[in-house]
């Protein structure tokens, strides 16, 4: 994406309402600036948007729930939302529930890392090979969750 491209968050206002069976999925990353898992969350969501499900995913900068013009709070009312959080504080899930509506699915990356047996010290600011690999794995988990929403009929798609 180039610097002057239209921001992705604008797309949330352009999709159908849930009642009309949306063709998009909302994937919301936590901010996570202070945690390595937050960096993995943001990068994983970008991978899904750019590489694995281009055109299917809309997202939002989480702090816009407070700083935006109010339209952002329609997010979970218009699309099924997968919240991707770096840690158990669950800012993406809780902020969505507080300001917009229920999430359809929630990923806690710190919990995933435990399940995967990852005990290495990770960097929030200098992601290397391991962090990149983990972002790819989390991206695949997000894609799995998107596919589940499609299989459940919560998202209308022509083809994958």
């Amino acid at each position: 994406m180039q610097a002057d491209e239209k921001p992705i968050e604008a797309g949330v206002n352009e999709v159908e309402t849930k009642e009309e069976r949306p063709s998009k999925v909302g994937v919301l990353s936590c901010s996570g600036e202070s945690e390595a898992e937050g960096t993995i969350a943001r990068n994983a969501v970008r991978l899904v948007i750019e590489k694995y499900r281009p055109g299917m995913v809309v997202t939002l900068c989480l702090p816009l729930y407070l700083a935006g013009d109010g339209g952002e709070r329609e997010f979970a009312r218009k699309v099924p939302v997968i919240a991707v959080d770096g840690c158990e504080k669950a800012c993406a899930r809780k902020a969505t529930e507080k300001y917009s509506g229920e999430v359809e699915s929630w990923i806690d990356i710190r919990d995933l890392l435990k399940q995967w047996g990852v005990t290495d010290k990770l960097s929030r600011s200098h992601p290397g090979k391991l962090e990149d690999e983990l972002a790819e794995k989390v991206a695949q988990e997000i894609v799995h969750r998107i596919n589940t929403l499609i299989q459940e009929g919560k998202v209308a798609v022509d083809n994958l």
């Binding site: 996570g32 702090p63 729930y65 700083a67 935006g68």
Partner: protein
């Protein structure tokens, strides 16, 4: 984390390369250039009005850096009861260095990295001043 630290708080921008530059600049300062005097926190905690995070920003010097004109970092800090001591937008730096346009969100490219360095240097200098050094 100490309340005496200067908090460098970038926006959480996920859709724009300028947000990546702002966040990378903040990381450069808090992790590489001034790790003893600066830190950052998750902006989402302020969005949720997390008590500990709100207390930190209220009682500390704060610099915000934004990836776009929506000013999420500044506004979320202000809602927490604190006016940032200094607020920046990456676009203001970009206006002064039009040849350093960042390329993409995941990889800001060579120009974006140079812009990151310029912003980080400014942030570190300002953090020193706020810390009384």
């Amino acid at each position: 984390m100490s309340k005496d630290k200067v908090y460098i708080i970038p926006c959480s921008g996920i859709g724009k390369p300028t947000a990546s530059v702002g966040r990378n600049a903040a990381y450069r300062v808090v992790d590489d250039m001034r790790p003893d005097t600066c830190d950052t926190l998750c902006l989402g905690l302020l969005t949720l009005r997390d008590e500990e995070a709100v207390s930190k920003v209220r009682d500390s010097k704060v610099i915000t850096i934004e990836g776009c004109a929506k000013d999420c970092a500044r506004k979320n800090v202000e809602v927490s009861g604190k006016t940032p001591d200094i607020s920046h937008r990456v676009h203001d730096f970009l206006k002064e260095h039009r040849d350093l346009k960042p390329e993409s969100v995941l990889d800001v490219g060579e120009g974006g990295r140079k812009l990151t360095d310029i912003i980080a240097t400014r942030l570190a200098e300002e953090a020193d001043e706020l810390a009384g050094k």
